[in-house]
Amino acid sequence: MRVSFIELRHLTFEYEAAERTVPALRDVTIAMAESEFLCVVGRSGCGKTTLLNIVAGFLQPTKGEVLIGGKPVTGRGFDRGVVFQDFAQLFPWRTAQRNVEFGLEMKGMASAERVETARRFLALVNLEAFAGAYPHELSGGMQQRVAIARALAYNPSVLLMDEPFAALDALTRDEMQKLLVDVWSQTRKTVIYVTHNVAEAVYLADRIVVMTPHPGTVKADVRVALSRPRDPLSIAFLEYQKEVVGHLR
């Protein structure tokens, strides 16, 4: 049996709410290979964000564990980068450049190297010209690009993304999805991407895990065998979409 890079084993998460325990996740088991792009799809309340927060180390599971590279996840760590949906995730008092440098500062990187590395990642997301801008001077799409650069700059092996493009307009979202696929093929990170948008999942993912709520469990695991770049209007693409939507019912 091939050793997986990321393993979620029997993850269960319950929280206390007004005299009863609410099971947000029950017995979720997923294994991922390195550099795999996994999308977790489900309607609101299916536990997909809880799942991501557990892998990120923000929450401790009630039962079960997460292994990355064979080692159990116990809290936050430099091996993972997180991109949230909210544009406000950037620090307003730091320029784009300095935001991207943050993780590198935490790692103790020397100043000159930090500046150089941050620049490189800003170039990766096509924002080199805006390195000196403050977040409030940037559009939503640009802010999310900075957030992606920031999460990647300190070289985590895993990238966790929680509906990062959900608050953007459709055209910007399309551009960002293309950019993300580019960045992923260049950096080869292992990605767990949470979304409620089925078309987005089919466009981005190697594999789609469909979750259903109450409690959150894995309903289906669909491998998307389409070569990239993918055409959202092709028959094959729409077939995959139909399949995933079918599981969501």
């Binding site: 760590g77 430099f78 008092w93």
Partner: protein, 253 residues
Amino acid sequence: MKGTLVSFGFAALVWEAFARSGIFPAVATPSLLAIGAALVAMIADGTLFVHVLYTLYRIVVGLALAAIVGVPLGMLMGRFGSVERFVLPLVSVLNPIPSLAWVPVFIMWFGLGNTAAMALVFYAAAFPLILNAWTGMRSVNRIWLRAASSMGADDRTLFLKVVLPGALPFVIAGLRQAFARAWIAVVGGEMIAATSWGLGWLIFDSKEFLNTDVMIATLVAIGVLGLVFERVVFQLLERRTVGRWGMVRMAGA
């Protein structure tokens, strides 16, 4: 600039009309000319400068002490529930008591003079600083804390690199309020605690010989100083920090 001139021009007209109207005895309502003459005289012989220095000195010392004590205290309250539960009732009870109400007590403790005035400033300035620092701590966006800790920030780094800048809009607002209350305290304190120099003392002393022109001139000086501080100190501070960062919309923008 034009707006300011219009406002002041209008106020000057209203005053002059009031002064000449005879509602109050002429000696009690000096004309603009008389006020202007008194101001010029005080500036020319240097006395205004000395009074301003004394008053500013008391404000700066009292305010600095209040900031050193109040801002960390407010931050501790925001961070630790136990501190908040302990301090908040005390602050809530003392805050509404005007600083001037303490003047007799402070005179008994500190005697007449500088110390009492500075103690009053400290008292008046401390509460806005404490309360705004506390609110600032609580208003720091959680997502910044999450993002920072996901990138490896420990508690100390979180505080220095995220919480402090995040709370800055509130801290600056607190400084402004503290400064305003410090003026009230210092002028009132100088009037009652019989210090030997200072703008408050000047007002109080002028009544001896009914020098209402000096009185009003001193009020004008106080107002101008306040305006200068607002424009030069606070707005500049804001523009360089929270305005530049887009956390606060700049005045007049």
